[in-house]
């Protein structure tokens, strides 16, 4: 089975991360009243983006080797 699962997982997390963080950067602060005033979209989107990018990087590195 020649599929490095880090590739689809990395793509999925990166895309969701970009969507959430991007929305977090431009959205109205008022919507974060329910998340205790924390811009969870920006923070958690950023975390998912970093995790996804790390997976893509590892996948690309192992494909090169």
């Amino acid at each position: 089975m020649k599929l490095d699962v880090r590739l689809p997982a990395g793509l999925m997390l990166t895309t969701i991360g970009v969507l959430l963080a991007g929305y977090g950067a431009i959205s109205d602060r008022a919507i974060y009243a329910r998340s205790l005033g924390i811009n969870v979209n920006l923070i958690w989107g950023g975390v998912l983006l970093v995790a996804g990018a790390a997976m893509l990087l590892l996948s690309a590195r192992s494909a090169r080797d």
Partner: protein, 577 residues
């Protein structure tokens, strides 16, 4: 609350990824070994995450949070007592027989070790059970999404009433699972289970963080809920004081041994993931790797229950009769809480647009991982253990591959049908689940004797399974949990004993079935002719060469990993004692 475009986009990204994995694997899934066994070529860490994810269905997530709100942190017993020791046992002691025997399924191992009738009994009951489980889970999920009301507005815009939410959820989720399993078989399900695992974690970590912050941390929860809710073992000295109605012995023996080992060590749904590993060492490491996230999962799925009890005087909604919206009252006339809505309530309370889409996608992912687990186990058992064994034994590999794909279609269609039957006749589903519980309860004794006692015979195993199943039914028919009416809850023959809770009755029914199966298998085996030692090599402990782990680095040795996992679990028990 309605869903924004971003929430829909997050769901679409997930769906595109899972279907994309199926499409990517389509070309490399060309033989039945690829389709049903993932070519036995999957790395241990992927198998480990798939192992845990296949078990992490929506019912588990919703049910564990509900139980967390009802019983408190002692719900973690289902993980720390009811899963980890059995997973360690599977990895260290049992995988060498499953993997080493080259059996393609758990029922096939029973044929190799015992005989055809024992395999047939297990294969047929297991195949039926997987279809029904997946249908019941589908029903629960679709019902929940309907109750959330987040889809009401888009459906209304299309001129469709809220009842269509149920239909669309059932059909759409089934079609997605069908597409990716049809295309890529077991490898597609396994790789997607890894994605689903990551999404479930990504969706629930922020929920627990926000909830804990709102509740004032663990200290805030301790101040808000009854003291036994924040202690694992408080009150377990006797059944009368235990929050679950079961004493420590009942928990250790019923949950920690019979039910837990019976499920984790013999259920093909999870064992199939380990059997897909690329080597014996990887297969043995699979449940041990899975044990690490499993150990931490109570903080993700049980904690929301405690959070929902603690914040703002408790936010678990009241239970209402469907249709009339009248409150459901208990025997004392007090309104009952709808614990199953714990997770959805918290998602809607804390998640803004964007993260709400991720939370809903996590629920969807948990449902699909559970369903795909059932469907892939079903198509393998149907094709290998029923179709090839009894209907068409000597067909080409391409034929069995085609049958596997058709079995996937049939399994999904039967699951949808079951979901609708469940929607119409709730009691029928309860009865079916009960019957399967009876069948499953004695299996552990069959496997333990089969793997560790070479004298056990096929006649003994079969007689033990039938007697154990009958003993479970008899025990259930003669006992009743407190407050329940005779019928599907028990006491349908006569009421000779009463249990403080349904859970206590379940535990003791399983213990009774196990002991009966053990005794009958022993007795009948001693009275019948055993097979020659030469036929049992690789199938029985005393006749099988021990796997050599000496060449492996310490962090890959199953015994060392097992000890580390058990010590960590013991430490969690001490901290939350």
């Amino acid at each position: 609350m309605t869903l924004s475009l971003l929430d829909w986009l997050v769901m679409l990204v997930y769906l595109a990824c899972v279907i994309g994995v199926g499409v990517a694997l389509r070309r490399s899934t060309t033989t039945s070994v690829d389709f049903f066994q993932a070519g036995r070529a999957i790395p241990a860490w992927v198998c480990g995450l798939a192992f845990i994810s296949a078990n992490l269905g929506a019912q588990e997530i919703i049910g564990m949070a509900a139980s967390g709100a009802k019983y408190g942190i002692s719900t973690s017993h289902f993980y720390w007592i009811g899963a980890i020791p059995a997973m360690v046992f599977l990895g260290v002691f049992m995988m060498p027989f499953y993997y080493g025997s080259r059996a393609r399924s758990v029922p096939e191992y029973l044929r190799l070790r015992f005989d055809e009738k024992t395999r047939g009994f297990n294969a047929i009951s297991f195949a039926l059970m997987t279809v029904f489980s997946s249908g019941i889970s589908m029903y629960a999920m679709a019902k929940l999404l309907q109750l959330l009301h987040v889809f009401d507005a888009p459906f209304a815009a299309l001129g469709l009433g809220p009842e269509y939410i149920f239909h669309v959820c059932v059909v759409a989720s089934a079609v997605v699972v069908l597409v990716y399993v049809w295309l890529g078989g077991l490898p597609s399900a396994i790789y997607n289970e890894v994605l689903q695992f990551m999404l479930i974690v990504a969706g629930f970590v922020p929920l627990v963080y926000l909830g804990l912050r709102d509740a004032g941390g663990w200290g805030g929860i301790r101040a808000a809920v009854p003291v036994e809710f924040t202690h694992l073992w408080r009150g377990f000295g006797s059944a009368a004081t235990s929050p679950m109605g079961v004493d420590a012995f009942g928990v250790a023996m019923g949950l920690g041994f019979v039910l837990s080992f019976g499920y984790w060590c013999t259920d093909f749904l999870v064992v199939q993931r380990a059997m897909a590993a690329d080597s014996m060492a990887a297969a043995r490491r699979t449940p041990l790797i899975a044990a690490v996230p499993k150990m931490l999962f109570p903080f993700l799925v049980v904690m929301p229950g405690l959070i929902a009890l603690s914040v703002h005087g408790g936010v678990v909604p009241l239970k209402m009769h469907e249709g009339t919206n009248a409150l459901v009252l208990d025997a004392l006339g007090k309104p009952q809480l709808d614990y199953d809505l714990t997770i959805p309530t918290l998602l809607l309370r804390y998640f803004p647009s964007g993260l709400l889409g991720l939370g809903l996608t996590a629920l969807l992912a948990s449902f699909m991982s559970g369903m795909a687990g059932n469907v892939t186990a079903f198509n393998a058992v149907w094709t290998y253990d029923i179709y090839q064994a009894y209907l068409r034994p000597r067909a080409s590999d391409a034929h069995y591959l085609k049958i596997g794909r058709l079995a996937t279609l049939f399994g999904v269609a039967a699951s949808i049908l079951t979901a609708y039957v469940a929607a119409q006749f709730n009691n029928i589903m309860d009865v079916l689940q009960l019957v399967f519980a009876f069948v499953n309860a004695p299996l552990l004794a069959t496997f333990l004797l089969g793997m560790f006692w070479k004298r056990a015979t096929g006649h003994g195993a079969f007689a033990g399974l039938v007697a154990g199943t009958a003993a479970a039914a008899l025990h259930h028919g003669l006992t009743l949990p407190a407050g329940a009416l005779p019928g599907v809850k028990g006491g349908w023959i006569a009421i000779t004993a009463s249990y403080p809770s349904e859970m206590a009755q379940n535990f003791w029914t399983a213990i009774d079935a196990f002991i009966t199966c053990l005794i009958v298998t022993l007795a009948v085996s001693l009275a019948t002719r055993p097979r020659a030692d030469s036929e049992l090599r690789g199938l029985v402990y005393s006749l099988t060469e021990r796997p050599r782990d000496g060449a492996l680095p310490w962090y890959e040795r199953p015994a060392i990993l097992g000890v580390v996992v058990l010590l960590a679990t013991a430490a969690l028990n001490v901290v939350l004692f």
